[in-house]
Amino acid sequence: MTTRITGGRVFDPANGVVDAPRDIVISDGRIIAADGPSGANDEIIDASGCVVLAGGIDLHTHIAGGKVNLGRLLMNDDRARFPEPFGGMMCGCGGGRAAPTTHATGCRYSQMGYTAAFEPAVVGANARHAHLEMGDIPNLDTGGFLVLGNDDFLLRMIAEGDGQQAVNDYVAWMLKATQCCAIKIVNPGGINAFKFNGRALDLDETGPHYGLTPRRILNTLQRAVTELGVPHPIHLHGCNLGVPGNVKTTLATIGATEGFPLHLTHIQFHSYGTEGDRRFSSGAVEIAEAVNANPHISIDVGQIMFGQTVTASADLMSQYRNHGIADPKKWIGMDIEMDAACGVVPFNYRDTSFVNALQWAIGLELFLLVEDPWRVYLTTDHPNGGPFTSYPHLIRLLMDKPFRDAHLERIHKAARAHTRLAEISREYTLEEIAVVTRAAPARTLGLKDRGHLGPGARADVVLYVEQPDREAMFAAPRLVLKDGDIVVRDGEVVALKKGRTFAVHPPSDPLMDKRLERWFDEAVGLKSSHFQIADGEIRDGEGPELVETQP
């Protein structure tokens, strides 16, 4: 029994297919070659009038783990205002928009045509929790990026000159132990410095205790993931997040990569200058130029969207700096287990605020000025820049210049004078949207059977009814298929499926087991065997879906 989707306009840029009238044929949850004639058993899905895309992939969205739960705790008002619609068995009795419940997260994502989402800040000590939550998210494949770069074990190794191989072994051990699929660095060395009462740490500043610069930590981990063959390069939340003038740091970081690939996440928060009488300006042009000139750099934007949200970050140094502008006035900070930290600060971005309005414009400038869509991934850094449910709106801002200009007219006047957004005429094409929301994230994460519609791919397929209002179009697809089964029809969730969890398991020297046993015993106060997450603990015994490493 096969399913044939026929009559639609197919956008599959990973396979060079752009706006082609092609059939997509599905068998056993995977896409197969479409050249055979339709069999008698074919179920036909008529896609006429539809644009056919692979399932959407969000590679940076805070959907699970301790800090998200702290966000839920603080956002009771948001939770009450956005209950899941009552839909019989499809309702998980949850809700919330800025920090939605697991069930709501899966349903809302799949309602927009997304089939995979990645939690980009799994703290080792909290990894088991993050996986338990991810396992409770329906209709989405998930994966976690492990936060390293502030962990005392690593910093001590680097400081004591243990050598790259030891670092590689440690990184490999930690990835497997935490069942994560990439390495994230948050404010390299900075979170650790804050634990020693350091309040700022720039790229080439020496941190307390270990005497390491963020640059050195970054380079060491870049080399480690490259040598281990982890597909996604270091996922970097750089130094000085949100600090006016941090564009210098970001440019220096791009220049500090020593040729290793690097992903700069939520780069919007790292693209601020100090020009103008308010000492806050857009650095988007310089950043975009640097990204354009450095093909080994990729970015996601972390677009901010106006409205209430909550920011959740491992970067307690930055969050402590910002907690005074929390709205509502409450926030939670936490130092975590010699691994990292977290800070959860509710925010309300207002278009009447000069800073917020300019942040909004800077994000869009970056989207529009970085030329190669394969190196840009569409994110709001959910929920930090805004809830992921705003993606259809964001897509329209990118695809529709008059719509964008109309919004520009509404923002803080002085901010308007500080952005070049009005001069930018670029509009994203459907092909480019397919790249930034599907093909490109799959490629950078090493997901060979996701993000495209070629034979062998998982049958995660979305049919959007073509309409000029791109926000309406991307908000409510006609059909979403997860592994070949229809989970969303006309924007409504009609079935719940278990997702999978991606992980990488690069090999490590058994000696590292011994070293870490001792470290956990003596410093952490937890047995390393209890820190490590067994395959059987993932997805109720399903185990992880391993992503191939290519050393």
Binding site: L73, L74, N76, D77, P328, K329, K330
Partner: protein, 268 residues
């Protein structure tokens, strides 16, 4: 007249949540449509008509028969009037932004929690946490007026942020805990441990308290023009204290432990 009358068919044996059943929500609906409205009985949705006889009332007010398990009466009320002929349960008038709620009986816990504006009158006693903050919220009742004819329970006006609360009877333990601003007047006795964590605001008393939470300074007796002003601008306040507010009061300021500058005024 456009108001509805909801008459309970039988006393409730589980808690019934009437949140959202307001004159505005019923305006323009046929009585059949009113009877089909969903409410929560225990943890389950039931139609209003299963529990109530729905009929047209004699006024614009929504008239409801009372029951101590009837929760959320007048919650989210924005305009219009709700009259309860008997007691209500928890969270009556919670989050109200306007209108008037009259309860001809006792009220349960959380009366006027998160109240923004409007008037609430309760003929009998009120439960714990009158005028307090909703779960997870920093601020309690922000405005409006609440009049209680009987006693108030524990933690009266906890985290109160504004508005006026008048209690003709006694107040339980922990009154004015973490009170932020606003005015609370108690004609009866004040329970123990009042004013813990109090930041600002006024607690007006007719009877000397047996004790207060630690952290108050006795600033002595004063003639306070503000009391004269309040007594004239708020006739209910003057009435609560028998009409004779002299302006003279002993003033306890605090709570010093939290850097607070609230006041507990013993009227003389």
């Amino acid at each position: 007249m456009s108001g509805y009358r909801l008459k309970l068919r039988a006393p409730l044996d589980a808690r019934l949540d009437l949140t959202g059943i307001t004159p505005a929500a019923l305006a323009g609906l046929s009585s059949d449509a009113v009877a089909r409205k969903d409410v929560f009985l225990g943890a389950q949705r039931v139609a209003l008509g299963e529990l109530f006889e729905v009929s047209s009332g004699a006024s614009d007010a929504l008239v409801v028969s009372g029951d101590p398990r009837l929760d959320g009466v007048g919650a989210d009320l924005g305009a219009g009037e709700i009259l309860v002929e008997g007691p209500v349960g928890a969270d009556a008038g919670a989050r109200m932004t306007g209108g008037r709620l009259v309860v001809r009986g006792d009220a349960g816990d959380g009366l006027a929690a998160g109240l923004v504006a409007g008037r609430i009158e309760v003929a009998g006693d009120a439960g714990a946490g009158l005028g307090s903050a909703l779960p997870g919220e920093r601020l309690g009742m922000r405005g409006g007026v609440v009049q209680v004819g009987g006693n108030a329970g524990l933690r009266l006006a906890e985290r109160l942020r504004g508005g006026l609360v008048l209690v003709a009877g006694d107040a339980g333990a922990g009154a004015a805990t973490d009170l932020i601003a606003g005015t609370v007047a108690i004609a009866g006795r004040l329970g123990p441990d009042a004013g813990r964590g109090m930041r600002r605001g006024s607690l007006l008393l007719a009877q000397a308290p047996a004790s207060l939470a630690p952290g108050f300074a006795d600033t002595g007796s004063h003639d306070l023009v503000a009391l004269l002003l309040m007594a004239r601008r708020v006739p209910e306040l003057a009435a609560l204290f028998g009409g004779g507010v002299s302006g003279r009061a002993q003033r306890f300021a605090g709570n010093r432990l939290v850097g607070g500058e609230g006041e507990i005024l013993l009227l003389q």
